[in-house]
Chain length 167, copies 2
């Protein structure tokens, strides 16, 4: 296999930007920027997230058995970069962002135009990121989109001409 | 859970458009338009596809144990709609499209700017679509993108203002 061809073809896949959050109820609260996300079923509504196995977020999601995907808006580029670093919980804020606890305990960022909360139904333990499958059990719509919903989300391409995570 | 909020938030996820193909070597050749796709690991390179369980494509992928994802280009709107219908193999063409067999046997469409071939490593059997995880074993780059790779692919939003598959 030609490694350059593989990289280029895989980078054709377009991605939105999300803050994955979780709270295991025992002191570990995670928030991390992710982009490997897709829905995988309508009934029940399932989503899939590729999560880096050596990340704190992975451990917290696994321990919690629940997580939230906070969709970022077009003006949240700074927020995306902020959550590339390990999240800091201070003064009731997550890396400076106000939030409230969702029904699963996962932090729902006030800034996010929308978020879904999920219950982990399975994890495929393959590769340097694992496939976390979650059933959507709660949805929060903070800012209804005025046009298409998928035109309202921050995308990988919005982060910079040479910013990719994939390939 | 508010069903409308769930639908709108899930529709914020942006999608590219792909033709999923497979050949089980026993006469079943599948080709179907899909959009629920994400990479899920770098090492090994894994991709995830949500595949409708009552589709011929699902049966063929499962029997073959391999599949290809053919990325569509911006000018392939007609091709996307053509493969919403069951594929017809006639005169050596798949629903009118010329192709060649990849190393896995899966049809690689000549029209696709790029394609990856995968070996199925696991299937999460949950919901009306199952999560098919595949390791990328071959890549074909027919038309190197001139700008960002993810700006070259046909997207869900390109199919029409009210066209969605998700929510």
């Amino acid at each position: 296999m030609n490694a350059d061809a593989k990289k280029t073809v895989l980078r054709m896949i377009p991605y939105g930007i999300y803050i994955l959050t979780a709270d295991d109820g025992k002191g570990s609260v995670a928030a991390a920027t992710v982009n490997w996300v897709t829905q995988s079923a309508f009934a029940p509504p399932l989503v899939v997230v590729g999560v880096k196995t050596d990340s704190g977020a992975y451990q917290t999601v696994k321990a919690a058995g629940t997580f939230a995907l906070n969709m970022l808006g077009k003006d949240h580029k700074g927020l995306a970069f902020a959550f590339f670093k390990p999240a800091v919980l201070a003064d009731g804020k997550l890396s400076g962002q106000t939030f409230r606890k969702g029904s699963t305990g996962a932090p729902i960022l006030d800034a996010a135009p929308g978020a879904v909360e999920c219950r982990v139904t399975s994890i495929v333990e393959q590769g340097d990121h694992h496939v976390v499958v979650g059933e959507v059990v709660e949805a929060h719509l903070h800012k209804p989109p005025t046009g298409r919903a998928d035109a309202a989300i921050l995308e990988m391409r919005d982060l910079g001409d040479n910013v990719f995570y994939g390939g």
